[in-house]
C-alpha cells in the first residue's frame, strides 16, 4: 500500500464544484437574460390586452346602442323596446354632488391639518394612519355601515345615505393628496408670508393652498372618479329607482346600479342598455376629470403661474 501524499490528501477534501465550461456558462446566462426579457414583455402585453379589449368592446357595443332616448327617457318596462337611463344620470349627479360637498371640504381641511399643524406630531401620525385604514375599508362594508347607521334608523333607503357613504369614501384620498401636495410647497414661501405679518390662516389659504392647488384639484378629481363608479355601497343606501326622483329622502337611481341590474338581467335589450350605460359612465368620469383640469389650468382656480 502506498502512503497517501499531501497531494492526494488534499484531493480527498470536499472540493468546490467544477467550473462549468466557460462558453456554455456564458450561453446559459445570455439565454436566461433573453428569456426573462421576453417574459417581461409578454406580461406587459398580457396586462394591456384586457384594457384594450374592455375599451374596444365599450366603444363598439356602447356606441351602437346609444341614442337620444337613452338620455331623455326613464327605463322601459320588461318587454318594451326603448327606454333610457335619464333618471339614473340625474340620480348619479345628485349623489355625487352630495358626496363632493361632504368629502372634499373635510378632506382638504384634514390634509391642511396634517401638513401645516400636525407635521411629525403623534396626533398627526395617528390621523394619517387612520386615513389609510379608512382608505382600505371595502366599499361594501362602507355600504353596510351606512345602512345600519342611517337607513335602519330612517326606515327607508335614501339618496342622502348614498351621498354620505360615497362622501366618506372620498375623504381619505383627498386628505392624503392634499397633505402630500402641501408638503411640496417650499418653507421659504410660508416664511415670506409670515414675515410680512400675514396671519397664519391667511398664509395657509392664500399661499400654501394656492401654490399647491393644481395637485389638490387633481386629488379631488381622482377621489371623485373613484366613487363615481362605485356600486356596492349604493346597493344598501341609494337602492336604485326606476322612475324620476330628485327627493333626497327617497330611493334614487344611479348609473352604476342601473348597469348592474341590467347586466345580470336575462334580456338582450337590457344588456344593450347596460353597455351604453357603461360607456356613458366612463365618458362622464373622463369628461368631468378633463374639464376640471382645463378650468384649473386657466381660470380662477389656477395656482402657480
Amino acid at each position: 500500500m502506498i502512503e497517501p501524499t499531501a497531494q492526494t490528501k488534499l484531493d480527498v477534501l470536499p472540493s468546490p464544484p467544477p467550473l462549468r465550461n466557460s462558453r456554455v456558462n456564458t450561453l446559459h446566462r445570455m439565454f436566461f437574460d433573453h428569456l426573462i426579457t421576453g417574459l417581461a414583455i409578454l406580461s406587459t402585453v398580457l396586462v394591456i390586452a384586457p384594457l384594450v379589449s374592455i375599451l374596444l368592446y365599450l366603444l363598439y357595443k356602447g356606441a351602437s346602442s346609444l341614442n337620444l332616448a337613452f338620455f331623455t327617457h326613464v327605463p322601459a318596462p320588461v318587454g318594451e323596446a326603448g327606454g333610457g337611463m335619464a333618471n339614473s344620470i340625474l340620480g348619479s349627479g345628485i349623489i355625487l354632488t352630495l358626496a363632493s360637498a361632504m368629502g372634499i371640504p373635510i378632506g382638504i381641511a384634514a390634509g391642511v391639518y396634517l401638513a401645516e399643524y400636525g407635521r411629525g406630531s403623534h396626533l398627526g401620525n395617528a390621523v394619517r394612519f387612520t386615513a389609510d385604514v379608512l382608505n382600505g375599508v371595502p366599499s361594501i362594508v362602507m355600504g353596510l355601515a351606512i345602512y345600519a347607521l342611517i337607513v335602519v334608523r330612517q326606515g327607508h333607503f335614501s339618496a342622502l345615505s348614498g351621498g354620505v357613504a360615497l362622501g366618506i369614501m372620498m375623504i381619505p384620498t383627498v386628505t392624503r393628496t392634499t397633505e402630500e401636495m402641501l408638503m411640496t410647497v417650499p418653507h421659504a414661501i410660508r416664511e415670506a408670508a409670515l414675515g410680512l405679518g400675514v396671519p397664519r390662516w391667511r398664509s395657509i389659504i392664500s399661499v400654501s393652498l394656492r401654490t399647491a392647488s393644481p395637485g389638490i384639484i387633481t386629488g379631488c378629481m381622482l377621489a371623485f372618479a373613484r366613487v363615481a363608479g362605485e356600486t356596492a355601497p349604493l346597493l344598501f343606501t341609494a337602492f336604485g329607482n326606476q322612475f324620476w326622483s330628485a327627493n333626497l329622502n327617497q330611493p334614487i337611481g344611479a348609473l352604476p346600479l342601473q348597469i348592474f341590474v341590467y347586466a345580470i338581467s336575462p334580456y338582450d335589450e337590457w344588456h344593450r342598455l347596460a353597455w351604453a350605460g357603461a360607456l356613458v359612465l366612463i365618458m362622464l368620469i373622463m369628461v368631468s376629470v378633463t374639464l376640471v383640469r382645463v378650468v384649473a389650468g386657466r381660470g380662477i382656480l389656477k395656482g402657480n403661474q
Binding site: 446566462r29 437574460d33 426573462i36 426579457t37 417581461a40 414583455i41 406580461s43 406587459t44 396586462v47 394591456i48 384586457p50 374592455i54 365599450l58 371640504p105 373635510i106 381641511a109 384634514a110 391639518y113 399643524y117 398627526g124 390621523v127 394612519f129 385604514v133 382600505g136 375599508v137 371595502p138 361594501i140 362594508v141 355600504g143 353596510l144 355601515a145 345600519a148 347607521l149 366618506i168 375623504i171 381619505p172 386628505t175 402630500e180 405679518g197 400675514v198 396671519p199 397664519r200 390662516w201 363615481a228 363608479g229 362605485e230 356600486t231 356596492a232 346597493l235 344598501f236 337602492f239 352604476p256 348597469i259 348592474f260 347586466a263 345580470i264 347596460a274 353597455w275 359612465l281 368620469i285
Partner: protein, 333 residues
C-alpha cells in the same frame, strides 16, 4: 441715567425715530384687514376638528358594525365562522361558504397577478425604452380607473363565453387529472372571478412594486453591471433582492383590495347555493329578501369580519412598503 441708556444708539437699534414713522403700506393694509388672533385660532381649531372627524368616522363604522351584529354574535357565537348554512327561512346562518369563496378567489387572483405585475414593473423600470415608459405606465394605471361594475359587465359578456367555450375545455383536457376542473363548465365560477380580480388588483401591485424598485439606489445596479452581470442577474440580485420586503407589502396590499372587491365578483361567480359563494353574494339578495333582524345582523357580522381582516392586512402591507420606501419622496397616485 436710564434715559441715557435708552437713547444710546450704540446699545439699541435707534428705536426713537422708527416709532414716529408711519406704518408701511403693507402693515397698514394688514392692520385694517387682519381679524387677528381669533381668526387664527378658529381656523386652526376647524382644521383640527376636520382631522379628528376621520377618527370619529372610523370609530362610528366599527361601533355601528359591532352594534348591528350583536344579535347574530349572540345567536351563533364562533360557530358562525365554521358552519356553512345560509337559510333565511329557518334563521340558520353560517359564513363558511363565503369565507371559502373569498379566500379561494383572492388567493387564486394573487397567483395570477403577482408574476404579471412584477413582470410589468421590471419591464417598465429596467428594460423599457424611455419613449414607451410613460404611455405604458399610463395604460396600466388606467386599469385602476375603470369602475368595477364595468369590469363585471365585460367579464360577463366577453370573458365568460371564452372561459366556457375555449379556455375551460382546454384546461379540463390538460389538467383534468388533478380533479380541479371536473364537473359542468358554465363559464361562471371561481376561476373566472379570480381572473377578473387579478386584472383589477394588477395596477395596485405593479405601481407599488415600481415605487419600491425605484427606491433601490442606482449604485447597486451600476455595481452589478460593472462586475459583468447580465441584465437579469443585475435585476435579480441588485434590485429585486433589495426590494423584496416592499414587494411583499405590495402583494399584501393587492390581497386587501381583492378581499374587499364586490361587484365584478358578484356578477361572474354565479351565485348558486350549491357551489362555493363569494362573501358578498347575499348583498344583492338583501334587497329582495324580507329583511328580518337576524338576517341583517348576520350580514353585518360578515361585514365586521371583513372590515377587521382588511384592516390587519392593510396595516401589515403599509408597514412593509414604508420600511422600503422610507426616505424617498412619495409619489402621488
Amino acid at each position: 441715567m436710564p434715559q441715557l441708556v435708552v437713547n444710546d444708539p450704540g446699545l439699541s437699534a435707534d428705536p426713537g425715530p422708527l416709532q414716529e414713522q408711519p406704518d408701511s403700506a403693507v402693515r397698514q393694509y394688514l392692520k385694517k384687514r387682519s381679524p387677528g388672533k381669533f381668526a387664527d385660532g378658529a381656523f386652526g381649531v376647524t382644521m383640527l376638528l376636520s382631522a379628528c372627524s376621520i377618527f370619529l368616522i372610523v370609530a362610528l363604522i366599527v361601533f355601528t358594525l359591532a352594534h348591528g351584529s350583536k344579535l347574530s354574535i349572540h345567536a351563533f357565537g364562533w360557530k358562525f365562522f365554521v358552519t356553512s348554512a345560509w337559510d333565511p327561512v329557518n334563521g340558520d346562518f353560517g359564513a363558511l361558504t363565503f369565507i371559502f369563496g373569498t379566500l379561494a378567489t383572492s388567493l387564486l387572483a394573487l397567483c395570477i397577478s403577482v408574476p404579471l405585475a412584477i413582470g410589468v414593473a421590471v419591464f417598465i423600470t429596467e428594460m423599457c425604452p424611455a419613449r414607451l415608459r410613460t404611455p405604458i405606465s399610463f395604460l396600466t394605471e388606467l386599469l385602476a380607473a375603470i369602475p368595477s361594475v364595468v369590469y363585471g359587465l365585460w367579464a360577463l359578456f366577453i370573458l365568460v363565453p371564452v372561459m366556457r367555450d375555449q379556455l375551460g375545455p382546454a384546461l379540463a383536457k390538460l389538467f383534468g387529472w388533478t380533479g380541479l376542473f371536473s364537473g359542468d363548465n358554465f363559464g361562471l365560477g371561481i376561476l373566472t372571478a379570480s381572473i377578473i380580480l387579478a386584472i383589477m388588483i394588477l395596477p395596485v401591485i405593479s405601481s407599488i412594486t415600481r415605487d419600491v424598485m425605484r427606491a433601490v439606489p442606482v449604485n447597486q445596479r451600476e455595481g452589478m453591471l460593472a462586475l459583468g452581470a447580465t441584465r437579469w442577474e443585475m435585476i435579480r440580485t441588485g434590485v429585486l433582492r433589495n426590494a423584496r420586503i416592499g414587494i411583499v407589502g405590495a402583494v399584501i396590499l393587492g390581497l386587501g383590495r381583492a378581499l374587499g372587491e364586490t361587484m365584478a365578483v358578484t356578477m361572474v361567480i354565479g351565485n348558486r347555493p350549491d357551489i362555493a359563494k363569494s362573501l358578498f353574494a347575499p348583498g344583492y339578495t338583501l334587497a329582495s329578501v324580507v329583511a328580518d333582524d337576524l338576517y341583517v345582523s348576520a350580514l353585518i357580522e360578515i361585514g365586521l369580519a371583513l372590515f377587521l381582516v382588511t384592516i390587519v392586512v392593510n396595516a401589515i402591507a403599509r408597514l412593509l412598503v414604508w420600511a422600503v420606501t422610507r426616505g424617498t419622496p412619495s409619489r402621488v397616485a
